[in-house]
Symmetry: C3
Subunit: 140 residues, 3 copies
Amino acid sequence: MMRQAATTLTVDTQGCGLVEVSNEVINWVAKQGMSQGLLTLFIRHTSASLIIQENADPDVQADLLAFFRCLAPEDGKLYRHSEEGPDDMPAHIKAALTNVQLSIPVVNGLPFLGTWQGIYVFEHRHVPHKRSVTMHLLGE
Amino acid sequence: MMRQAATTLTVDTQGCGLVEVSNEVINWVAKQGMSQGLLTLFIRHTSASLIIQENADPDVQADLLAFFRCLAPEDGKLYRHSEEGPDDMPAHIKAALTNVQLSIPVVNGLPFLGTWQGIYVFEHRHVPHKRSVTMHLLGE
Amino acid sequence: MMRQAATTLTVDTQGCGLVEVSNEVINWVAKQGMSQGLLTLFIRHTSASLIIQENADPDVQADLLAFFRCLAPEDGKLYRHSEEGPDDMPAHIKAALTNVQLSIPVVNGLPFLGTWQGIYVFEHRHVPHKRSVTMHLLGE
């Protein structure tokens, strides 16, 4: 019989950077006792996002940060929207270029991630934030 | 008992820019009478996309447009695909960098958006278009 | 009565480029005999991604490849992560800018794609790879 489960995870970020949440996500899914299903993660913000990336070499994260910093620089002359600080509009742009939502099939009771895939909250603001990520699971 | 509902929304765009559809989406979900579920929006085009962004300051939209215009400029020398006009290939690129699809958990009968999150159709062509956005809801 | 189906498709890529999988996806969905539902595709890699794009003019694919090659160039000076080759970090960036996952409503037994939409695996590495794409279908 198909059923649903949902919860909201609070993720403490430390300013610009990736925070891995794979274990929190996997543990919650495992506890729901559904062998097959669809997991959806949704971040309820516009200056942080979700990303699945390589979880082996930390240099990948440093390179990703540098790439996005360069693509959407903190340059006051570029943006009209500046009241919330010079890092706010670049944060919205970075969120637009990545994702607010990820859906992952559940196979044998677990999110069916590839070997090198980790799930991350991507914080785009300088200051640490508490970010809400809602997890929704549908399956049986 | 889990059930589904679906409909297709037609969105009139006014050329390059963001058209907010949050109210249409929220009202349709509310009418389905499902307290918990998963909402999926899918845009059936390759030169317009879907985006969740800040809905408070209109400058955010102006800055986003300027960013994408600069990232994928209308420069005839850059692209082979030009038969449909100089804005067509940049439109495909902008669609590739954003999303054709968004899934949002439904909590207490409504899409569980964050306080500042609005749902937008992002038109990438100069000329106004009628865009089809299919909404699919699964829940109970 | 709502039910699920899932399978994993292996896609042989020929190095950097788009491989259309629309037919494989459509045929599999058609065989499941569900008139209405939600299809989710998930690629289990961090240097290849999924993209929905115009399937009419092959020049669109060439232009997309050129755009992403220029946006995330293979330049050893730009990246720390280099052990897996000069094309590996650009591949992670391109995957971050596109998608690992796509969900598409199913209407009348088929994925409800727009007229010009094709589903592609976007290979970001130079060498041909076997890529795993998990398909999950929920419906009735």
